[in-house]
């Protein structure tokens, strides 16, 4: 019951701060609950997966997520997520704790300093993006404007998803924090499309890694189900609060919490 309410609050905060549930769930639950990191990572992936599956249909129908952009990226990320999960489960827990702590601190800094661009300028589509027909259009509801998009720098973008997928599998974090900057800043996808495609992408990337954790026994239903349901309900409430909240304040709170959780994980890994 405590875990359910904790995850409910996490779900609200995650929506208000514009981050995925997994990135808050893994460091905070492993830091403040008695569960071993193996179970927290397995459940973290299921939490991120459930959120992505629930959000995916709406995003796809409104063209805020695009299959042409997502499918090539997903193949790379999901294959590497399997490798990441296997490596993550093979390494000693303290090494994973240290790496997790460092990654969480990096994510907090990335959220602080990353300046995403609403509509990046892509003058000419590159060869790979053109061959994969990575282009489309969606309607921006706030302005009624038709936003047309295409990608560039597709190859370096795809290569970065090797690292993103690996880390998603290794730490069970989800990977929205990394997907969005790569899709937006590097490949030139508009921010709204990057956020939507990233969310949808998690439903594929996290699936592959989740199977590895599931098959190795890392899912305890008494822990997993309240976490999944709590975070999903929290997300629904968060969307409603978003209309009246001041997301900037929440964002700073999340950055502080992530820094704290990252340092805590780092110290735990170092045995301090």
């Amino acid at each position: 019951m405590i875990l359910f309410f904790f995850c409910f609050v996490l779900g609200i905060i995650a929506v208000l701060a514009g981050v995925g549930g997994g990135v808050l769930y893994v460091p905070l639950v492993s830091g403040f609950f008695p569960f071993h990191l193996d179970f927290v990572r397995g459940t973290g992936l299921l939490v991120a997966l459930a959120g992505a599956l629930a959000a995916g249909p709406g995003l796809l129908k409104r063209n805020f997520a695009n299959l042409r952009l997502a499918l090539p990226v997903a193949l790379i990320a999901s294959s590497c997520a399997i490798v990441g999960a296997l490596v993550g489960l093979a390494l000693p827990t303290n090494i994973i704790q240290i790496a997790l702590g460092a990654t969480i601190i990096f994510i907090a800094l990335l959220i602080t300093f990353s300046k995403n661009v609403e509509r990046p300028v892509v003058e000419k589509q590159d060869g790979i993006g053109g061959a994969l027909k990575m282009a489309g259009a969606y309607l921006e509801p706030s302005t009624g404007e038709l936003i047309e998009w295409k990608t560039h720098r597709t190859l370096p973008g795809l290569l970065l998803f090797i690292v993103i997928g690996f880390m998603a599998g290794m730490f069970g974090l989800g990977a929205g924090w990394a997907n969005v900057p790569v899709l937006n800043l590097l490949m030139g996808a508009p921010l709204k499309l990057s956020v939507g495609t990233s969310k949808f992408l998690l439903s594929i990337t996290d699936t592959s890694a989740a199977w590895i954790y599931l098959n190795q026994g890392c899912v305890i239903p008494l822990m997993a189900v309240p976490s999944i349901v709590g975070l999903m309900l929290g997300s629904f409430v968060g969307v409603r609060i978003l209309a009246v909240a001041k997301p900037k304040v929440i964002r700073y709170i999340v950055i502080s919490v992530l820094l704290f959780a990252g340092i805590k994980a780092l110290l735990k890994g170092l045995g301090i």
């Binding site: 193996d38 249909p57 129908k61 063209n63 399997i82 594929i204 239903p221």
Partner: protein, 139 residues
Amino acid sequence: MTSQAPQAPPEQITYANLLFYGSWGAIAILLITFFVYVSGVFESYIPINEISQYWSMPVSQYVQEANIPIGWGWATLIGKGDFLNFIGIVLLAGMTIVCYIVILPYYIKQKDIAFVVLIILEVLVLCLGASGIFGTGGH
């Protein structure tokens, strides 16, 4: 002047619809099986009051001490209250594979060789992950 929203491609709509019904169905099943589990209607493989002895252990120790089956071994314990929850979890984790298989004919029809290959490879990757081939080991 406001523009008209561009229609999503048919394969994207099919994927979205399937994902919608599949994932919400899986979550509903997960909720029902969880209530069955905590209500104690079915006997649990590990009694609820003993779970806390295990959840702070590394998974390899938990699997050994609680004699937990790995890979698809959970399916043999589906009649137990705790493992009953795996139906919803596995449905959630399996939805993407189903969606990929269903949209494959759209790309075959469009003769889009690159996406046909991408989809087949992705299904293979996900099936490999789900197969339990990698279900042994751990630290």
